[in-house]
């Protein structure tokens, strides 16, 4: 492994996690073992001490009752029991009278009969040998110059400590093994999936937008993540497809008139050099250019609004006023087209929005209603005037602005398609228009947090611009909109 690889390995989340687990568990185990060991030792010490004290009390009692003779026999009796304590009785000169202890190491505590527990090393007679053992003893001075030693071997305690040590060592081994296992598990099972995500992302970035992240179906966080990312990818893909469609549409809807423009100019140039012909051609070309500019403007507006960056100010408005103003503007137009404008506005309709944009949206809808609902040269049956209806009303938290015509309408199946850019349904192909009207309205609706709904007006088409109602009415006052250009009255 090269040093670079080693650094890379150390950097992985798996390695870090393994180290952290290892340290945490080692710490915990060390604490547990230490705690248990300390407390058990203390308990054992107390038990030893209690046993020794009890033996001393009992032997002292024997001595008091029957003198040295009874003490000796009692000690001899006790010494023979299995697991016997340690006993040694010396006379005043220090000679051993009775006991199962071969002798104490030099410098032993036999000279200090203060009854305190003392840690000593002693020899025990085991066959011919005198083996060395550790013990806790108490030395007690008896009346008559005798000294009595009673003690317990502490090999048991030592044995226990050894078990603890072994356990500690074993635990460390297990910890390390677990740490390694964690590392392997995390790096293999978990991080592998992260790497999969990264690999798939790279694929997608290289242009294959149809790729999706793997969902294992385990329902864990990785599946959640993959699902969210897949949704995002689907959205991006849809946007990309939309963009492609738009560029195709632009190619078609802008190039067609551009080509017409060019052909017209070319044909004029090839034709006779006649001023009148030239003038007509130029006038027609300007008209064509204006149409192009309109399409281009609409496209730009839609794009900017859909990107949510139109920068147009949103101010508190009364939609009822907007509807009234537009009805006022369009009433004679509708009448001239042979219809009648019906208006039903139930104000006030507080919204937060941009007057120009909403007016433009409604104007587009009314234009459409006139264009498709009041076809030139077609009279309604019975000589009645065909109505174009404008409604403004509030429904809960929604402000609904409807424009309905009584023309042929749009079949239900085509409603969704009608809102798309450049879509011109069959029946409208013969009429002038960019095919951007409704999608512009739709974009304006979305920019205001609303939506556009098409419905069958039976007969005719009803288009409803649904906008969220403005919640606090106070803002209307404080937000003095700069509408200085508007003439008073």
């Amino acid at each position: 492994m090269t040093p670079l690889n080693r650094i890379g390995m150390i950097r992985t989340t798996a390695f870090k996690l393994a180290i952290v687990y290892l340290l945490a568990f080692t710490g915990l185990t060390a604490f547990l073992i230490g705690y248990i060991s300390y407390n058990t030792n203390a308990l054992l010490d107390r038990q030893l001490d209690a046993t020794i004290t009890a033996e001393i009390n009992s032997l002292t009692e024997q001595y008091r009752r029957g003198g040295i003779r009874q003490l000796v026999s009692s000690v001899e009796l006790r010494s023979r029991r299995p697991g016997a304590s340690l006993y040694l009785v010396n006379d005043f000169s220090g000679r051993s009278i009775v006991g199962n202890v071969a002798g104490l190491l030099p410098g032993s505590a036999m000279d200090i009969p203060d009854g305190q527990p003392v840690h000593v090393t002693y020899y025990r007679l085991d066959g011919d040998q005198a083996l060395e053992y550790d013990a806790i003893v108490r030395i007690y001075a008896l009346p008559g110059g005798f000294r009595m030693l009673v003690g317990r071997d502490i090999a048991e305690r030592e044995e226990f400590n050894r078990v603890i040590r072994d356990a500690a060592q074993f635990s460390v081994l297990v910890m390390v093994a677990l740490g390694l296992a964690t590392w392997i598990f995390v790096s293999r099972a978990v991080l592998k999936r992260v790497e999969n995500v990264a690999a798939t992302s790279r694929h997608i970035m290289s242009g294959d937008l149809s790729r999706r992240l793997e969902v294992t179906g385990s329902g864990d966080e990785f599946d959640d993540l993959a699902n969210s990312l897949n949704e995002m990818l689907a959205r991006i893909e849809a946007l990309m497809i939309g963009l492609k469609e738009v560029s195709d549409d632009i190619a078609h809807d802008l190039k067609t008139p551009l080509n017409r423009l060019r052909t017209r100019l070319e044909a004029t140039l090839r034709g006779p050099a006649d001023a009148t012909v030239y003038r007509d051609a130029i006038a027609a070309s300007i008209g064509e250019a204006d149409q192009l500019i309109q399409v281009f403007d609409a496209l730009l507006r839609i794009a900017r609004m859909e990107a949510g960056s139109s920068g147009d100010e949103m101010v508190p408005l009364d939609a009822a006023e907007i509807v009234e103003d537009l009805a006022d503007l369009y009433e004679p137009v509708v009448e001239d087209a042979g219809g009648v404008l019906r208006k039903a506005v139930d104000g006030p309709l507080p919204i937060a929005g941009n007057r120009t944009l909403i007016s433009q949206a409604l104007a587009n809808l009314i234009d459409n209603a006139i264009k498709y609902g009041l076809p030139a040269g077609e009279d309604a049956p019975g000589g009645e005037q065909r109505p174009v209806t404008i409604k403004g009303l509030r429904e809960g938290d929604e402000i609904r602005l409807c424009v309905a015509d009584s023309g042929p309408g749009i079949p239900e199946a085509d409603h969704a398609r009608a809102l798309q850019r450049f879509v011109r349904l069959e029946q409208s192909r013969t009429l002038p228009g960019s095919g951007l009207g409704l999608s512009l309205v739709s974009a304006i609706a979305r920019l205001h947090g609303g939506r556009l709904v098409l419905a069958d007006a039976k007969p005719g088409l009803e288009v409803t611009l649904i906008l969220p109602a403005r919640a606090n009415e106070k803002k209307a006052v404080e937000d003095a909109h700069d509408r200085g250009e508007r003439p008073a009255g």
Partner: protein, 226 residues
């Protein structure tokens, strides 16, 4: 009148200058912000036509500078930025009118002429008169000869605006902006319908037609004998 064009597109500027000269105005042209600023500061112009995005110095900055020095010369801003917000920003910086590129020359000419006239004090009259047609701004009455003509409020405002600019061409867009306060182009020619209704009320039955349609440009109300 004297017009200063501050525009970095030389070809567009020369077409513009040619058109304005043909319409009887004298024109100076500055190709960048600095030159424009100097000429504008020298003064003596009736109208400034300022492109918004200029080399060396931003068009809006020039206008703001002028206004700081209490120079009230009318300014028409030309811009490729046509969003509602851009217009508001342009007008806030001190511009008097805003025209989005690409524009029709007739539109620009009409606006320049209206702006130049605005600088003259005649627009504070309370009564407008064109021939035998008179409009009283205080009583909101319109009469022709001895005959009073009843008008809808919107028709009154339409006539008021046209009479305020009597003898000048007003375009459909100008009417839409100034009478209705709409800053977008409706697809159908709504203004034509309103104007023809107004014409029916003020001109019908009279020998002299005051409200004239100027082909390719807009409308004009005038008493000029034709």
């Amino acid at each position: 009148m004297r017009v200063l064009i501050i525009e970095d597109d030389r070809e567009a500027a020369s077409y513009l200058a040619k058109g304005l000269v043909e319409a009887g105005h004298s024109v100076d042209h500055a190709p960048d912000g600095d030159a424009g600023q100097q000429l504008a500061e020298a003064g003596g112009y009736d109208v400034l036509v300022v492109d918004r995005m200029l080399p060396k110095r931003d068009g809006l900055a020039i206008i703001e500078d002028l206004r700081r020095r209490q120079d009230r010369t009318p300014v028409l801003i030309l811009s490729a930025l046509g969003q509602v917000d851009d217009r508001v920003k342009g007008l806030r910086s001190g511009g008097d009118d805003y025209l989005t590129k690409p524009y029709a020359f007739s539109e620009l000419l009409a606006r320049v002429e209206v702006l130049a006239r605005r600088n003259q004090p005649s627009s504070v009259e309370t009564t407008y008169r064109v021939g035998d047609l008179s409009l009283d701004r205080l009583t909101h009455t319109v009469s022709r000869g001895n005959q009073e003509i009843p008008l809808q409020p919107r028709e009154f405002r339409l006539l008021e605006y046209m009479m305020q600019h009597a003898g000048q061409v007003v375009t459909r867009t100008m009417l839409l902006e100034n009478v209705w306060d709409y800053h977008f182009d409706p697809q159908t020619n709504v203004i034509d319908v309103h104007v023809s209704r107004l014409r029916a009320k003020i001109d019908k039955g009279f020998e002299r037609q005051l409200l004239q349609t100027i082909r390719g440009a807009g409308y004009m109300i005038s008493d000029a004998a034709e």
